[in-house]
């Protein structure tokens, strides 16, 4: 850019004025062009980067499932993005307050994994995972200018909440690092394991082409309930890494359509061994350390708090299960009359929670249905709870039949 001659328009004639006016206006093309180029880049680069689906040798669904089962990835590190949209009523910060409030109790620590990871039940979160063998794993929940890390190293399980500078300490053989991880599925592999466990003869399993996830070639495995009449589960799609057989992305779309209920996928993954220092943890000076106590009394409570996405996937535990495959419904006899969920506990909340449900009646009597986009629950007035990834009608039918 040549320096502008500031004196060239002082004594200009009318024609010159017009020309220089046009030239002046022309300068504004530069910022406009910059905006245009930026907008085009933002719009086009993702489209260009999506270089199409990779071509991989054909594989049958059976082979692919075996590949997942055989997959033995011991060392990895990566970033996972988890979005859950259960269609819970938007209560702003309230629901997380309720969740963690219920979990925390009086003496709880904000670094307690059970209270922290329930946050994953709604919204979009970024996690970093690292693993080096069976004994050393780390999951970190990325927050704004803070992080919650759950570190399993040998026999120690550490939870560190950098925001409040609180530390939670447990031991692996008492609590089990695995167990902590299982409570809330976070990585695509956790979700995929749950889904495949539930996949039986009521499920159609197909391989549907390939995809590129986090820069790696992957097969896409699609699970569909065969008799889709009763269930709210539409399609489950799992992207499986072609080389290692590790699930890289898990998407669950509800039968009702719309956005995915659960969408968990690696945005970046590496199968190199993470640095050993990743798993070292010493509580920082001055941090408040909470030791894990015997949680026997809290066990029952804990099962209510786990993310509902887990319950439907065939992992009902103690409650009686009616139906089969995707249409299965768990029946819990809470014994509490009045029809208000015992799990919500707090008396002053029951009225509020009751107002969130739909009132239904049938041969079984009266009850309240609480629905999300995936899980529906019917709580009858005589205290029975029917829960499943099924439609409201299927719940009522099950309740009628249960009488």
């Amino acid at each position: 850019m040549a320096p502008y001659e500031s004196d060239d328009s002082t004594n200009a004639g009318e024609a010159d004025d017009l020309r220089s006016g046009r030239r002046k206006a022309a300068r504004y093309v530069v910022p406009v062009a910059v905006v245009g180029v930026a907008a085009a880049t933002i719009g086009l680069v993702p489209a260009l980067a999506d270089s199409g689906d990779p071509s991989l040798p054909k594989i049958t669904a059976q082979q692919l499932i075996e590949k997942i089962a055989k997959s033995d990835v011991q060392e990895l590190s990566g970033t996972v993005k988890v979005s859950t949209d259960l269609g819970l009523p938007n209560l702003g910060g309230l629901e997380s307050g309720l969740l963690s409030g219920a979990a925390k109790g009086r003496d709880g620590s904000s670094a307690d994994p059970t209270s922290k990871l329930t946050e994953l039940a709604s919204g979009t979160h970024t996690l970093r995972v690292a693993a080096d063998g069976q004994d050393r794993q780390k999951v970190s929940l990325i927050e704004s200018a803070a992080e919650y890390s759950l570190i399993h190293n040998g026999k120690d399980v550490w939870g560190y909440d950098s925001k409040s500078n609180e530390v939670y300490h447990g031991t692996a053989d008492q609590a089990g690092g695995k167990k902590h991880k299982d409570e809330v599925p976070a990585t695509p592999k956790d979700f995929a394991d749950q889904a495949l466990k539930a996949a039986d003869d009521t499920t159609s399993v197909t391989v549907d082409g390939t995809a590129q996830i986090a820069g790696r070639d992957a097969y896409r495995l699609v699970l569909k309930p065969k008799h889709a009449s009763g269930t709210t589960v539409g399609v489950i799609s799992i992207a499986v890494d072609a080389k290692t057989g590790m699930p890289l992305k898990f998407t669950l779309t509800p039968a009702g359509g719309g956005a995915a209920v659960v969408d968990a996928g690696f945005t970046q993954v590496s199968f190199a061994r993470p640095a050993a220092s990743t798993f070292d943890f010493t509580p920082p000076k001055g941090a408040k350390v909470t030791e894990e106590k015997d949680k026997a009394g809290k066990g029952g409570e804990r099962s209510h708090r786990t993310a509902p996405s887990q319950k439907d996937l065939g992992k009902s535990g103690a409650p009686k299960v009616i139906g089969k495959g995707w249409n299965s419904i768990a029946v819990i006899d809470s014994g509490a009359k009045g029809g208000i969920p015992s799990s919500s506990g707090k008396g002053n909340l029951s009225g509020f929670i009751g107002s969130l449900g739909d009132h239904v009646s049938g041969k079984f009597g009266k009850g309240t249905v609480f629905s999300t986009r995936l899980i529906n629950a019917l709580i009858t007035d005589d205290g029975k709870v029917y829960v499943g990834a099924v439609t409201k009608d299927a719940l009522v039918k099950a309740a009628d039949a249960g009488r």
């Binding site: 850019m1 504004y28 970033t79 990325i142 950098s162 609180e166 070292d280």
Partner: protein, 292 residues
């Protein structure tokens, strides 16, 4: 300065640019206004440090400190004074730092016009583009100095009031004090980078008007507006394009390994703002009639 030489030479030598820049820098940093702004910025870490110190004097660290909010990292200050640097940056970045930058950037051209010195600056064969570039570089230099003032003041206060030593990253791993200092410096640079977009915006506003006060007020007003817009959840679609959206990403430098995604987005966004508003300022400034 080589005034005699520049009068005879029509096309100014490259050295003239440095002479211009040096005189700009000296003028800017000698102003009482600038010194007062830097003083305010230096006082913020002192305030935060003393407040945390008094709060935790009873011995019990405020374990719940992180629950209610407060600037990032505030819970860790009592364990390691270095965290005061991070806290101070997190506390000043949303408002104090950009406000100071808005004042300097808004004043850059409009202030000269206001006091009637702009035309004399242009009579000397500086060239408008060159003058504008010099003004922008001076503003960026102020961004850097202001950030360093906050960081150094915080480090001094942190070292005085709290212990120093190895520190725990927010990912739970430990790094040495030297590594921590390096990261603090890197953070200061990232924070400086975060302000470049606003500096360009302020410079553009400054070329629009002949009133220095109006330009400063507009820039700071825009800053506040954008900060508010960034808080409204319903606007999440446009928020990634607001210049302040990724400002706090400098905290990602305290993760182990460093989480670069947002940091890179932040710097890209600042570069975009600098390019758009820098070129708009150029278009405006080189085309307008200088009457004052």
């Amino acid at each position: 300065m080589s005034r005699a030489e520049s009068l005879t030479v029509r096309a100014p030598s490259p050295l003239w640019t440095f002479g211009l820049l040096r005189s700009e820098l000296v003028t800017t940093f000698r102003r009482w206004r600038t010194l007062a702004l830097l003083g305010v910025l230096a006082a913020v870490p002192v305030l935060v440090g003393v407040a945390v110190r008094i709060e935790t004097k009873g011995g019990a660290p405020s374990g719940r400190g992180g629950d209610g909010g407060g600037p990032a990292f505030i819970a860790q200050i009592t364990n390691n004074g270095l965290f005061l640097v991070f806290t101070a940056l997190a506390a000043t970045l949303p408002f104090f730092l950009p406000m100071a930058v808005g004042v300097i950037a808004g004043d850059a051209v409009a202030g000269e016009a206001n006091s009637g010195t702009l035309r004399y600056l242009l009579v000397a064969p500086a060239g408008r583009t060159r003058l504008l570039l010099t003004k922008y570089v001076t503003t960026i230099a102020f961004c850097l100095v202001a950030t360093l003032v906050v960081a150094v003041s915080a480090l001094a206060v942190g070292a005085l009031l709290f212990p120093l030593g190895d520190l725990t990253t927010i990912s739970g791993t430990q790094i040495s004090f030297a590594d921590g200092l390096g990261r603090a410096l890197l953070m200061a640079l990232v924070v400086t980078g975060s302000l470049t977009g606003l500096a360009a915006l302020g410079l553009f506003v400054s070329t629009l008007t002949n009133s220095g006060i109006a330009a400063m007020a507009t820039t700071v007003g825009l800053l506040i507006t954008v900060q508010i817009l960034d808080q409204i959840p319903q606007l999440h679609a446009v928020q990634p394009y607001l210049f302040s959206h990724y400002w706090l990403s400098f905290a990602d430098l305290m993760r182990e390994p460093v989480y670069w995604d947002d940091l890179v987005k932040n710097l890209e966004l600042q570069a975009l703002y600098a390019a758009v508003f820098g070129s708009a300022a150029w278009a405006r400034f080189t085309a307008r009639d200088i009457t004052a």
